[in-house]
Symmetry: C2
Subunit: 467 residues, 2 copies
């Protein structure tokens, strides 16, 4: 893939579009835009320019210019990705949505919000809450990730069991397409059958088919009661099986989170405090919304019953802030142990999770891998973090990690699973995507990309390579 360079004349035209202050070309200022949260420097790449448009019109003008000049454009939200989706691997322009940060409208009667792409997820959550409403999307990085990035990666997070992932929150998108046209797809309708559902195609397309500039997202009335339960299970298999049991019983929690015992110890060390029941096993955190106190009491009794029937040794009412601080410390605790971590984001049908955990225990032992493990057990999405031992040579460790990956993914695809539950493919998993995806399916994805972006300028080299 060969592209034109961002020359001085292109820079000048970019400055005309967005204003001189919003075109960054100094190495130091561009460095933060050379990577996402993947720490491995081999995945970093400096752009030639960073552009910060303030509107869809400016975004469109930048894309039009880039398309005409044959320069790649890589859209970027909060930069919290874990698949190098926002890394400009061919240089060119990083288009940051950070100035597209307005909450345009919140409609309590229609139960939706219209927000620009650069709005932080936590800011939308807070704005909805201030109106007695609720935005259901909730990635663990909610404080720093942006709505546009959530949509582009179909971010999942903690509430997907009840509310689905980011794609399920979408009514409509305003996008800039690869030839620089602004268009709106979808509408705030609870039902429609009026042509192809382009908004769902764009969601999860990782910036390869369009740059999201604005989104119309579903809101809900704020649930009156929300309880958090902590259950401690003697085995990891019993712990994750609970999720599937609850769903079969018709109980729909907001989330069912799993932390294995080794990981709990790592989090306890990081937080420098002992955790309740830490010595006894594995954690399951269940969050349950209820309409009133009676329903809440019924839910708590049912959860207690099913947890104990499933083998839990302890079932405790948890304090919201404390338990979620613990859960959300997972990534930081891992980082405190090692800066060199291979992160997997696999997903399987929930009824196969216990099998997957057994397989992981066996294969990681065989490959002598140090593992920290958290799972969104309620939706089958498992985050496997493999830590490099300090003493080991990087390349030798990588060889073991990759050999293990191949074996693990082969097994996961046999279970009906996929490479990524919520982080996306990006640049990092592109080779795995090629290996594990039906070539005919991949060809159909590529055909859409080529039809919409004939010059391959929007986030090239992500998800797949074009011939």
């Amino acid at each position: 893939m060969s592209y034109e360079k961002v020359t001085a004349s292109v820079q000048a035209r970019l400055r005309q579009i967005v204003g001189a202050a919003y075109v960054l070309t100094e190495r130091e200022k561009m460095l933060p835009y050379s990577h996402d949260e993947v720490t491995d420097p081999s995945y970093h790449h400096l752009p030639e320019a960073v552009v910060l448009p303030a509107s869809a019109d400016e975004t469109a003008a930048v894309v039009k210019l880039a398309n005409t000049c044959h320069i790649p454009v890589v859209p970027r939200g909060g930069g919290t990705g874990l698949a190098c989706g926002a890394v400009p691997i061919y240089g060119g322009i990083v288009l940051s949505t950070e100035r597209l940060n307005h909450i345009c409208e919140i409609r309590p009667d229609g139960l939706y919000a219209v927000v620009e792409a650069g709005v932080r997820t936590a800011d939308l959550q807070a704005a909805a809450e201030a109106r007695g409403l609720f935005y259901a999307g909730d990635p663990c990085s909610g404080d720093s990730c942006c709505i546009g990035g959530n949509i582009a990666t179909n971010a999942g997070g903690n509430r997907a069991v009840k509310y689905g992932t980011t794609r399920h929150q979408i009514y409509a998108l305003q996008i800039v397409n690869p030839t620089g046209h602004i268009l709106s797809v979808g509408a705030p309708l609870r039902k429609q059958s009026t042509g192809y559902c382009l908004e769902q195609l764009l969601a999860g397309s990782e910036g390869t088919l369009g740059i999201i500039t604005q989104a119309t997202l579903k809101l809900f009335p704020k649930p009156p009661y929300c309880s958090d339960i902590l259950a401690v299970f003697p085995t990891a298999e019993a712990a994750v099986t609970l999720a599937s049991t609850l769903l079969q019983k018709g109980i729909l929690p907001t989330c069912v989170e799993f932390l294995d015992q080794t990981t709990l110890h790592a989090i306890a060390d990081f937080l420098q405090e002992p955790l309740p029941g830490q010595a006894d096993g594995h954690y399951v955190i269940i969050e349950m919304e209820s309409a009133d106190e009676d329903e809440r009491d019924r839910h708590l009794l049912q959860l207690d019953e099913y947890c104990r029937a499933g083998g839990a040794s302890q079932v405790l009412l948890a304090e919201y802030k404390k338990i979620w601080h613990l859960r959300k410390s997972f990534a930081e605790a891992v980082r405190a142990e090692s800066l060199c971590v291979s992160k997997e984001d696999v997903v399987v049908p929930i009824e196969r999770e216990a099998e997957l955990l057994q397989k992981i225990a066996a294969t990681t032992a065989r490959y002598r891998l140090t593992v920290r493990l958290a799972a969104h057990a309620g939706d089958g999405n498992l985050h496997l973090n493999i830590l490099k031992p300090p003493a080991e040579d990087y390349d030798a460790w990588q060889r073991r990690v990759q050999a293990h990956q191949q074996e693990l993914y082969t097994y996961i695809y046999q279970l009906g699973g996929r490479l990524s539950g919520e982080h996306g493919i990006g640049y990092k998993r592109k080779q795995l995507m090629k290996k594990f995806t039906n070539p005919e399916e991949l060809a159909m994805m590529k055909a859409i990309k080529q039809a919409w972006d004939p010059n391959n300028i929007l986030n090239p080299g992500k998800i797949f390579d074009l011939p």
Copy 2:
């Protein structure tokens, strides 16, 4: 658009693929395949052959042959469409899925079913129920429509308020693509971000992008309690506003159906029995699922309170069979009044429904149109049936209908609405689609079609025309 003919030699090859008994070429046998439920004969068109494959392999072989020979292939499920989506307007082959009628698997642990495309919706519902499970998709034509058609049109139906439309029931699809390859897209996963979401692109694409041969669909545990409420409102506006009120209050019914007073009288005449409260106004039927008796009682009290606060003069507990028999008699009652009916399937944001009803009352009066009206009020989807007066000339009536359509749709798009809530565009609404859709959006739909189906053999001339 010009195609090759189904010659004797093509017929012979079709017989080799599916067996001689499953290729129909006699006019009489093909007649039922020349139309869907649109009665107007100007929308009927005879195919050159009807083919009934028994497997995805046979379907693929038929499509491959058609693609090689440049013959159109029109997939057909139950033939209950209302937009002429299954009508072979360029002749060629109608590919009926009626022999693809196996329920392959029902998985209570994973809460999903794998079914072939030709399975009737009611049969899947019954099979799920027999296992204590529940399939949420429920078009009014459930007894005769098929899963493949439901997916192709993103059929809505009665339970969309709580469960969404058919696209929300889909985990995975097996399809035959326009070049005759079988592939699977999606997986029974509650979360994933592994490439473009092709299953959601295919859902609602009305057979133009692929022929669905099998689907993996979500199931739910059967809700323990289900209550039906009938509320009678003095004005149509107050009636439809209830839906929006309930959702804002955090009450999520399975469905909120609306029947206006004129329509009630027509149904009463058809059923030859008076309906309760018929003289007092307009009907709202609310169905509400509950987890136990306490919750059911609370739901009923709340519904009574909100209905009365919204102006209802009567709020009655309804008998399930009776009230749904009444609701589902709508189409037949209309047919009993006139065989010549123009059916609209418009959809607006639910908070704009009352405005739309006022507009419709004004415009249909001005155009002197006889109207029967039912709405899935809980999702903004309104079925406007315009009856031809027996004495009037067809063409004169059509001119008034079409002039009214243009005015109505202009207004609906101003409200953020769309042409079709659940019937699709098909052949019937293609010109309206062209007029009311942003050309850039339409161009992006067409680009996908052209990239996947370069010979334009799969259901050509539906949704849009290609140049």
